[in-house]
Subunit: 217 residues, 2 copies
């Protein structure tokens, strides 16, 4: 199913793609594995290995062609054609996601928001139609292969997932805290908004301890 | 500064911590490196290596003590005491973050939101006071070591970062697309809300290609 590309490599492809697009917008035609590695925050050997899974090997002394690599990566990630996205939960997070430029820029088409609040159903919010939970089946049938983004409170997340899965959805992106129980053929990815904050906290902590040490020395 | 813990290890600590808390809430006292690896989506050798940086080696045949590992990890990540967080941008994303349980649960105290909109300044939104950009210095001085979360449109992100840095902020969490230019002693982590969507898209794409192949065969 994944053509033998390791999961960790797949998770890095969007990072490479973001970096490559930045390089492209700055007018760079080629990039070395060392430079790409630096910008993506991994080591150069890993970059070369990862890109080899896409059939890209670069040219010694020149590096990789940026536009071609963008094309290859976009194709692997399925970004060369549109894919429907349904956002469950039309609260602040759901609306922030509906407004998020990084979705539509990458071929994701937000086809509907789902909410239980009767005052929201039938409205357009952030340019997207809000439908009720009973309309999920219709929305999913109209957009085969769509991804459902769960932006509800945790208490509603499992029920929303169950309903989406019954309607035939195979891919869920979960922003709610906690774990979802899903059948084997359904893929869930989790976004933990607090993760990077903890990484920053780690470094701030180290810095503060080392300056406290320097002061007392 | 980082006491020799590799950056990739630091980035995995919050993932381990999340898994460990789930195990703890389910009443597990110990966990093997193999099980922890499975839940965290890495391999067991990497888990053992990562935990050794914290001075944790586990016990053969028993594994690691969950509560002690949680304590060690929380301490390394600086989560055992409160740290201030300032959210720049009181739009949908800023308010979603202010409401996000995963922040306050982990010792992060959202001390203020900053916005340029006069109709928001002076209000409480999602329980957090909104102040104007000119108040950043006061807020930062009142909360030494605070982290600034940039949840503004991209067009405002660099100016917000510059102002925070002038006020003495050393840690920025950037949700806006695009790259921030900051001095060497300031650490920026980026959250790309579209990243995991692309990972799901990759697998959906593979699955669709393989079923298309199966049908045509």
């Amino acid at each position: 199913m994944s053509r033998g590309i390791p999961e960790a490599t797949v998770a890095r492809l969007p990072v490479y793609l973001r970096v490559l697009r930045e390089l492209d917008s700055e007018g760079n035609d080629t990039v070395s594995s060392v430079h790409l590695a630096e910008l993506a925050g991994v080591n150069a050997a890993k970059v070369r290995k990862d890109l080899s899974f896409l059939g890209s090997y670069g040219t010694r002394g020149v590096g990789y062609e940026v536009p071609y690599l963008i094309f290859q990566m976009s194709r692997a990630l399925g970004l060369t054609h549109e894919r429907g996205v349904v956002i469950a939960g039309a609260g602040h997070l759901g609306q922030a996601l509906a407004n998020y430029r990084g979705f539509s820029d990458r071929g994701f088409n937000i086809v509907a928001m789902i909410d239980v609040d009767p005052s929201k159903i039938g409205m357009k919010m952030s340019g997207v139609s809000v439908v009720g939970p009973e309309d999920v089946v219709d929305v999913v049938n109209a957009h085969p292969g769509c991804i459902v983004v769960i932006a509800t409170p945790q208490s509603a997340a499992q029920a929303v997932a169950d309903r989406a899965i019954s309607a035939g959805v195979k891919s869920l992106l979960n922003f709610a805290p906690g774990v979802l129980t899903v059948p084997d053929d359904v893929r869930v990815r989790k976004v933990d908004l607090g993760l990077e904050l903890q990484v920053l906290s780690f470094y701030a902590e180290q810095q503060e301890r080392s300056s406290a040490g320097a002061k007392s020395a």
